[in-house]
């Protein structure tokens, strides 16, 4: 009887946590590197993202090989020399909206939020806080954010030869439209 009760409680918890999840597997993340010598940008349209409206928990997963460049060689160098995708195929973010109560998921509108969590890239784990926006419209939640990533902090090395072409700080822009399950 006791066990039965436990199972009920566990099942109840599981169901509870899956109640209000928004998700997508075709979100967009772009990045820009701006230097006087060269501007580089790449786009990934296969970003997986999920948001739990109840808890404010947020997750992103990106296959690094899916970033597309305007030059094929750049894409190869990005994979091989900088992100080392053979060793680190995925970048992830796991965190939560710090002020989730400020978002009214039931009412259409745009809500500025702050998201705190762990950004994992190139095998490096870092605690970050990123300002962003949650836009609610009918059954969709649009997540957008712009932030900067310092290559040095993620142990991405740029050889002296290429230092003038690749910015030390890369601008990342997130744009994911999540559907309610």
């Amino acid at each position: 009887m006791k066990y039965f009760f436990c199972i009920i409680v566990v099942l109840g918890l599981l169901q509870h946590s899956e109640a209000q999840v928004y998700s997508t597997s075709s979100g967009t993340i772009k990045f820009f590197s701006k230097t006087t010598a060269e501007n580089i940008d790449a786009t990934n349209n296969q970003v997986k993202a999920a948001l739990d409206a109840k808890t404010g928990n947020i997750e992103f997963a990106v296959s690094v090989n899916s970033f597309l460049f305007k030059k094929a060689l750049m894409q190869k160098h990005f994979q091989e020399n900088y992100m080392e995708t053979i060793k680190f195929p995925k970048s992830t973010f796991i965190g939560s909206i710090t002020d989730n109560t400020a978002v009214n998921y039931g009412k259409d509108g745009t809500y500025p939020v702050s998201v705190k969590g762990k950004l994992t890239m190139h095998g490096v784990n870092r605690e970050v806080t990123i300002p962003g926006k949650v836009s609610i419209s009918s059954k969709k939640a649009l997540l957008s954010a712009d932030f900067n990533v310092l290559l040095e902090e993620y142990k991405i090395k740029v050889p002296a030869n290429n230092a003038s072409q690749i910015a030390k700080s890369i601008k990342v822009s997130v744009d994911c439209s999540l559907q309610k399950k």
């Binding site: 998700s23 060689l73 190869k76 195929p89």
Partner: protein
Amino acid sequence: MSSIKLRILFIFTAVLSPAFLSAQQDSGFSLLGDEPAESSKVENTFKTTRVINLQSLELTDAGVMDVKINHRFGAVGLGSYEAFGLDNASVRIGAEYGIVPNLAVNIGRSSLGRMVDAGLKYRLMHQTSDNARPLSLLIYGGAARTALTMMGSEFVYTAQLIAGRKETDRFSWQIAPSLLSGGTGQVIAMGVGFREKITPRTTFNAEYIPVFSRPEGRGNTGFYNSFSVGLDVETGGHVFQLHFTNSAGMAEPQFIAQTNGSWMSRGFRFGFNISRVFTVVNPDKFR
């Protein structure tokens, strides 16, 4: 009895719960869940489209032009009077262009034999990271013609299968069974090549092209199997290939069938290839 049971339960929980926790930390996701590893095409098997002389498993990308300027100096055995070969040079200027994904065309002109060569290279299979396709497989078909009429000005055709694999991040290998036809007859050879990464941007390369069958006759004697070793150095849009080789020529009929230098008698020479790529058409057009 019951206290023992409790103790066992306690130990179990104590032992298992940290394992359980760490397992959860590994997966990390509670919303996205764990997905099977994605499969992608294996890129960067070699730094450029040649191992040294031999066609490699790489193919010029669609819309990209790869200009190649290749030099071979004279044999080191010529001695100090000829600056160990540096006074002589043979040149091939060529270009490759990716017409569509998996198909590229190339053309080149060599000073040695005043030879013009052209060819098509097609990728049949691209190695994938999940090993569903364990190999990369390409075919190369080329034709070359020398302008020196004394040596005969017939076309020599090359048919080549290039098969191989990127084994690790650092090590890639390939074989290239080759058939040359025309001129004085048929030549059958088997190219083998590999690369080993030394640093992220530098690799050590070697290739050997033993000839198994060549036509009889005076014009077909005194040739050796081509053997080359060297380094690939990548700097942004350029790849520099620096090497020692016993082949003076850089077109297929020349280095596969007519290598006349011997490593044993200092017939090898220093040489370099410079490869520079230009994006002609935005890759979005081919996606």
